[in-house]
Symmetry: C2
Amino acid sequence: MSFIATPQSMQFDAPLPLQSGASIRGYTLAYETYGSLNAAKSNAVLVCHALNASHHVAGVYEGKDHSEGWWDNMIGPGKPLDTDRFFVIGVNNLGSCFGSTGPMHINPDTGAVYGADFPVVTVEDWVDAQARLLDALGIDTLAAVMGGSLGGMQAISWTLRYPSRVKHCVAVATAPNLTAENIAFNEVARRAIATDPDFHGGNFYQHGVIPKRGLRIARMVGHITYLSDDVMNEKFGRQLKNGIDLRYSTQEVEFQIESYLRYQGDKFAEYFDANTYLLITRALDYFDPAKAFGGDLSQALARATAKFLLVSFSTDWRFSPARSREVVKALLDNKHTVSYAEIDAPHGHDAFLLDDARYMNVVRTYFANVDREIAA
Amino acid sequence: MSFIATPQSMQFDAPLPLQSGASIRGYTLAYETYGSLNAAKSNAVLVCHALNASHHVAGVYEGKDHSEGWWDNMIGPGKPLDTDRFFVIGVNNLGSCFGSTGPMHINPDTGAVYGADFPVVTVEDWVDAQARLLDALGIDTLAAVMGGSLGGMQAISWTLRYPSRVKHCVAVATAPNLTAENIAFNEVARRAIATDPDFHGGNFYQHGVIPKRGLRIARMVGHITYLSDDVMNEKFGRQLKNGIDLRYSTQEVEFQIESYLRYQGDKFAEYFDANTYLLITRALDYFDPAKAFGGDLSQALARATAKFLLVSFSTDWRFSPARSREVVKALLDNKHTVSYAEIDAPHGHDAFLLDDARYMNVVRTYFANVDREIAA
């Protein structure tokens, strides 16, 4: 049984300037905190979320079964990121659909639902919004910023936008930018959503419909890229849904893997917002700190002053170990302090959310050292 | 300039029993032949096609620009499969949309367009239909059967269903069955098509519409799996469509890779039949000669008497070299004669259709030996 978590929210009236040149005002950020901020305010850890997660990082909601936070195995009392030692903050990003202001909310400038007009937000914009939340919470410096996948990109971005405010960066299963193949998968998902007749150019809220067909396809594509070929073969292989006899049908479910993917797609389409999916995949596409330096990642990471832990997983083909090694190399080029663990795990990209003793121990040991640094 | 090819077709009145238990009668097969059958009828080579190809394997159509057959670099006078030496036959498979009977044609039993009622066909059914065509052409024994990808599966199936009728099997970039991940990608494509409101349960012909949205998504997903990550990065990388400035849009094209995929999807939706796509991906899913032998591929391949050449490509992640090696091992377990070439090529699965000197030379040398065998 985990501890009880309580969602909170904070309203921001001042406009936040965005990378696109637009700005957003009168927005809300949903967040949660676990543990206690120490008197020196030196034990805060910000945890950034990936594509379909939220500010509900750890703990459970009172009276709600199956409400564990998405990184509850990692964060809590006595866990690798120990909330008995650290004050942990989870924030839902702008444009998301779990409490912070997003496309389904009212644009204060027009009085109408944002819909397709919600401004395109970037990893850098999220980091800026998170920094304002920390300001409001009275936290100047983070003991660490941590995230996996897209969350790892935010963690890296923190060390570049606010170098003096971050002591440590823990970036798991992430990459310094997307490959063409990564962008390609995102684009398939976006096209599936945007060409669903129920999408209505992003203004489906007014039509009382949801582009579920597109969301299902988007989730199915995504899910394939989260798992390794090995784990899919082990879990599903060529198992048929109905014993050993083929049904000879192109539209009915025949193989277990089809059943699994359809289930994941159906579930996702029930709770995820279509515009949010477009926004978040675009933020992934855009992230590329080296771009301003002619593609030179070493130059891009020069301004970081944090110490780094990077973790990757051997079978992750979405953000392969080679991508983490690029970051490690660029940090070493700058003589920055970096630890790197490449975990031999079968689960593909999803491994960053799963229990693996070696992975958990690496993170536990790293934060124990951060804790000692704070005490020193 | 290639030679002139002339499409032909043959009508079959007798019902063809199918693996599903159904049968199909009064069907047509479109085919082409190149070169001359020798007096002993011992120099025939059947070439089987993959997902979106046809009987138009080589040559060009008279007066038609850009009408080269899909394997024109491989097959023709003086080419690796030399039509000055061999009589080459290309057949369009049942259920396809390029001339053989398919879902868009009239079911003689009902007088109505087949649509969703077109029977589910398997690799084995295609091989049986091809055997009947050879019967009609007066060809008892094939010097070789050859194919890439799904075509390679048909080539392998030939050696098991008609062992005495095949001397050589050339199977390129293929696999003894699909992995869970392969099936998963097929299922995403099928769901995109089948959930397109214009699909009408497969009976869209009567509605005068085409499920183009679904076909586009299906093709985009497929294309990603045909290319290697490396070649995608080399060809497109993170290049923007409009110079260096971001447009900050989730629906407009931003990256070159998006533009390429959309173009491929649009083109495909103009010419490919949606029901055919479902049928052909299902045939891929079902192919599994080891299934009847409790998954033991060595037992399954025991009955083959042909000699084999297998070719795989290092960066093919759709049908990886490991899958070809499974076939090679199972053949060796049976002390069958097998040659195997693993070509270090950057192009992914698509490599089997592209020019690569080492690949072309392997096939050229193999067929030169087959030719010597025939002459001996």
